[in-house]
């Protein structure tokens, strides 16, 4: 190693700071995507033609365009868009974090909404019929019968989205966010030790992905109270 130990630890400290930013962005992005996605998913079950049209266009764009492009669009064009929306006198400086958070939310809310639709499709129709036959009103049926089962049906897909968001988070460094990957790149360039720092950064994500498994298994067990066998 051709740098002093003090310098080395300095870079490690910088990477840890970056890791905190990455975790913050990932957590807030995933949470917002989840909240908006579930809301959008339920709203777009409606057959209202306007809602359907807006949803189809939104989903199609998100599914067809790289998230990196959306990050760039919101970062470069964010303040112009906000001015367009709220009037010209407003001036907001769009930070990389803000643009990244907005992009992750907009992109992955669509995926969560798709997931909600899939879960409703996979719910046996008998569940809806039994509610109707028991004279349970639709709103109550959703709250007490449908939603609790959707949570369980959507969980595996949600874990998937969690992992994808995790691996999309570093893209925001390309909009100038000073996150783990940006700092790894600085450290690698300065120390000429790309392997050390990039492998360390990779391991952060590998370990974070690996930790997801026990977490999701635990959640699955909690949701699956007495559901070893699921019948039609």
């Amino acid at each position: 190693m051709n740098i002093s130990t003090a310098d080395f630890w300095g870079y490690v400290g910088q990477m840890l700071d970056g890791a905190v930013v990455t975790i913050q962005l990932f957590m807030s992005g995933f949470t917002l995507a989840l909240v908006f996605g579930v809301a959008i998913g339920i709203i777009t079950l409606s057959r209202n033609i306007v809602i359907q049209a807006v949803w189809r266009v939104y989903a199609s764009i998100i599914m067809g365009v790289p998230s990196l492009l959306i990050i760039f669009l919101l970062y470069y064009g964010g303040s112009a868009m906000l001015r367009g929306l709220f009037g010209n006198n407003l001036y907001v400086d769009v930070t990389p974090f803000g643009a990244g958070l907005a992009a992750l939310t907009i992109v992955y809310a669509a995926y969560v909404a798709e997931l909600v639709h899939g879960a409703v499709r996979n719910l046996p129709r008998g569940q809806f019929e039994a509610c109707a036959a028991l004279a349970i009103r639709p709103v109550s049926a959703w709250r007490h019968v449908i939603m609790p089962q959707l949570a369980r049906l959507a969980l595996p897909g949600l874990v998937n989205i969690w992992l994808i968001v995790l691996k999309d988070t570093p893209l925001v460094s390309l909009a100038g966010l000073n996150d783990l990957v940006a700092n790894a790149k600085i450290a690698a360039g300065a120390t000429k030790e790309p392997f050390v720092f990039f492998i360390a950064a990779s391991l952060f994500f590998v370990v974070a992905s690996a930790l997801t498994m026990p977490l999701s298994n635990w959640l699955e067990r909690r949701f699956a109270r007495g559901l070893q066998r699921v019948k039609a």
Partner: protein, 262 residues
Amino acid sequence: MNALPIDPALAWESLPAMLRGLMTTVVVTVIVLALGLMLCVPVTLARMSRNPLLAWPAAVFVVFFRGAPLLILLYLVYYGFGQIEVLRDGPLWFIFGSAFACAVIGLTLNHVAFMVDVVRGSLEAVPAGLTEASAALGIPPRDTFRQIQLPLAMRYGLKAYQNEVVMFTKGTAVISVVTVIDLTAVANEVFELTYDPFTPMLTAGALYWCLVNLIRLGFRKLEAYLSRHHIAVEKQRQPASAGFTALAARWKLALSQKEQVL
């Protein structure tokens, strides 16, 4: 946002460069997909092998290259190769030193790791009853694999493969970080020249959208071809699904039978 300042003249002017960028994106995608199809077979076999000397390294490979973000893998390959003296002074440096090759290598590592799971998942999705039935008929294991398991697994795996191809194609947008001039790189250049935040990104977005939907269309054709024998079955089942649609109609739900994305 009703008045997005899109500049048609700029879009038109930058279109040739954009299309050249799109070409690069397509070439990289095709090369890596081909490499992925070739390399996933030995790695999957190793991963599923009972020999721990094969299974363990393959498992580590998959966990690492699946879990690491593509962006870091590209940095690792691009900046890392230059540090390896054998490579730098070797005869193949004209390959390993080129940005294009680094992009292909980084993408391939990531893609192969995902492909191993796609292939493994599809093989495991073939019901055990079918292989047992085949064995009970006296068909040798080799033929059972080739005649029963493989064709069925291809059908089961097609959806997962399509998702991976689409995700991967969109993922190639980061290769500009190793100085490959792909579609996203061109859009960025146009932005830096004009400071028009909307026109280049939206033009590039439209081109990506066309590419991705072309891929989806291709897969739909392929799927229709591979599942010819299912069509009769689907027709028989129609009342049930029609019934569900009717039910959904009553509950005012809009459930299209469209593909699931994840």
